[in-house]
């Protein structure tokens, strides 16, 4: 009961803090004080990247399976939720006319994100079941292929703009919503990983055969983790669309999936704080190297290879931020086990 109260207070505090920061950044709290729009946009995109990186880390880092089609699930979430607000928005607002204006927007956003997450989860189920039954690297290839197929598929749907891109999406997402969902993603993933179900995932990562011998239904665990990861990616995509107010399939290519992988590899596969750090570092590097954009991917790919050779566990390895800095000083932290 007491811990329930504490959790509630922390949640309420986080929401309040985000609301205050949001109004401070947009300049409605203190007049004349506002974050420059460009910086605010970078911060918001970093938040979306955090959602994507943390959710991908659940499957790639904690479960030890390798998905390289995260952008595909993001695209499903983005287009589905954008379609919901564009096509059904007016009807939804009519049905919820008893609510004040901002609450109606919020409810519409939540509803559309739920639809996006659901569809992404369903897609994750259908991709996951055939490929996760098997051991090995098939998931990588299937997700890669799936990511491309879904992109081509969306490109051919005229109702969402096809090759012209999907414009006219209302701007429902802002700093508050993005970071609220980033926080929710971090909480959901870390609670999942710490649960007994999460330990089955880590067991699968460490040794699938041993996990199976211990009675873990490996396929079921892998599929659940993959579906959850896809649903969260769908939410990330939905926020992306409602923040930028425009979607184009070019934002969801193979390169996008690779970028998310780079974020979690930099930060450390199997570390949530590592993914957050990786996502922020990645966007900082991308924006910082904007003038050298043609060399950007060359640099990132080299970085990926070098990290794999020199420090394959990433910056934080399996450790969380606090463990990384805390334990090391007191006693020599055990070297994190290699990811298998």
């Amino acid at each position: 009961m007491k811990s329930g109260l504490r959790t509630g207070l922390v949640a309420a505090g986080t929401v309040a803090l985000l609301l205050v920061l949001n109004s401070l950044f947009t300049g409605s709290l203190v007049s004349g004080v506002a974050m420059p729009p460009y910086i605010l946009q970078v911060i918001c995109l970093a938040g979306i990247n955090i959602i994507l990186a943390v959710s991908l880390n659940l499957i790639n880092g904690f479960t030890g399976q390798f998905s390289i089609g995260h952008a595909g699930f993001m695209a499903i979430g983005a287009y589905a939720s954008a379609y919901v607000t564009v096509a059904w928005g007016d009807r939804f607002r009519g049905a919820t006319s008893f609510l004040p204006e901002f609450a109606r927007d919020g409810a519409l956003l939540l509803f559309s994100l739920a639809v996006g997450a659901l569809l992404a989860a369903i897609a994750g189920f259908f991709v996951g079941v055939p490929s996760l039954r098997l051991r090995g690297d098939y998931l990588a290839i299937v997700t890669l292929g799936f990511g491309e197929i879904i992109r081509v598929f969306i490109l051919n749907i005229d109702a969402v703009g096809g090759a012209r891109g999907y414009s006219g999406i209302p701007k429902l997402a802002n700093f508050f919503w993005i970071y609220l969902f980033a926080a929710i993603t971090v909480v959901v993933v870390s609670r999942t990983v710490k649960s007994s179900f999460g330990r089955t995932l880590i067991a699968i990562r460490e040794d699938e055969i041993a996990a199976e011998a211990m009675g873990v239904d490996t396929t079921r665990s892998k599929v659940i983790s993959f579906v959850l990861s896809s649903a969260l990616a769908g939410i990330g995509g939905g926020l992306f669309g409602h923040y930028l107010m425009y979607l184009h399939t070019n934002s969801f290519t193979f390169i996008k999936s690779i970028e998310i992988i780079i974020m979690i590899v930099i930060g450390g596969l199997g570390s949530i704080t590592g993914s957050v750090l990786g996502a922020m570092l990645f966007i900082a590097l991308t924006e910082g190297l904007r003038e050298f954009s043609q060399y950007r991917m060359v640099l990132f790919s080299l970085l990926l290879i070098i990290i794999m050779i020199v420090r394959p566990q990433g910056i934080l390895g399996h450790l969380e931020f606090r463990q990384f800095f805390g334990r090391r000083r007191r006693l020599d932290a055990p070297t994190p086990p290699a990811i298998t």
Partner: protein, 298 residues
């Protein structure tokens, strides 16, 4: 019927390209259990080497010796390229986990693609014609000389590979390494050398495919390796990954079904068919057509 035969010929010539690339995937997977993501990009580099070599030979009439020279040059260059990739990127992480190896492979692939855009330029280039061309009409089916060359060269290379793997000492060692790396090492086989050879041979075959595609579809660009690589990988899985005849069979099947889908249904499904096949294979027969079921042991 004539249309069907025509499609079949087109499919076989596309399929032999996939088969040549698939061989490299399947051989590397056989010895290292690694999906060499960079393999499709080696194929792209092969096409570019062929392009620059044939530009050097331009001014002379298109002739058979020139074509052979270009092909040999590209194969040799890519064999060395494959060796370099193996030595610099894969060997340092070979002892690490498979996930590390896989991420490294993705990194190498991205690096080659992006570096190629800087070195070769991102815009497509047009492959000059290498050999005098002619069309033959057999029973109403049009056979272009390029198609005949593609099919003939591919089959020649595949027969040579078969001979190499089955009859030579190195080939025998390669089969031993693929059967059990540790045991092969204990038997005195230099596994490092065999793995390097595997990369060299696979890359040379990919380069041959690159030159052949340059002759057939004369447009080449730095990202052409992605899609061809993926489809060839699907071909290798379809035939049974790690199985050499399987890769050839898979390549021909994927090429033919792709052409048939374009011919009889719609070209928008062109790239989807390979992945549809992949999903079906994974559900129905994950070990592939010719693959054998292997139990994973502790």
């Amino acid at each position: 019927m004539t249309t069907f035969l025509q499609q079949l010929v087109n499919g076989l010539s596309l399929g032999s390209i996939y088969a040549l690339i698939a061989l490299g995937y399947t051989m590397v997977y056989g010895v290292l259990r690694l999906i060499n993501f960079a393999h499709g990009d080696v194929y792209m580099v092969g096409a570019y080497v062929g392009y620059y070599l044939s530009r050097k030979l331009q001014g002379k009439e298109p002739s058979l010796p020139n074509a052979i020279l270009v092909m040999m040059g590209a194969m040799a260059a890519c064999a060395i390229f494959g060796l370099i990739i193996e030595r610099l990127a894969y060997r340092p992480v070979r002892k690490a986990s498979r996930l590390t190896l896989l991420i490294t492979a993705i990194g190498v692939s991205l690096f080659i693609e992006n570096a190629a855009q800087l070195v070769f330029g991102a815009d497509p280039k047009f492959f000059p014609s290498l050999a005098p061309r002619a069309d033959f009409i057999v029973a109403g089916v049009r056979l272009t000389s390029e198609q005949i060359t593609v099919i003939a060269v591919s089959f020649l290379l595949m027969i040579l590979l078969r001979f190499f793997i089955q009859k030579t000492r190195t080939g025998k060692a390669m089969r031993a390494v693929s059967f059990n790396l540790d045991a092969a090492k204990l038997m005195g086989i230099s596994t490092d050398r065999i793995i390097a050879t595997t990369f060299a041979v696979g890359s040379a075959l990919a380069a041959a495919a690159g030159v052949l595609i340059g002759m057939q579809i004369p447009k080449i660009d730095p990202l052409m390796g992605i899609l061809y690589g993926l489809k060839a990988f699907v071909a290798a899985v379809l035939g049974g990954i790690g199985n050499v005849p399987g890769a050839v069979l898979g390549g021909l099947l994927i090429g033919t079904s792709e052409v048939m889908v374009v011919g009889y249904l719609s070209s928008t499904y062109r790239d989807a068919i390979a992945f549809g096949i992949l999903i079906l294979v994974l559900i129905l027969r994950p070990q592939g057509i010719l693959g054998r079921v292997t139990k994973e042991k502790v």
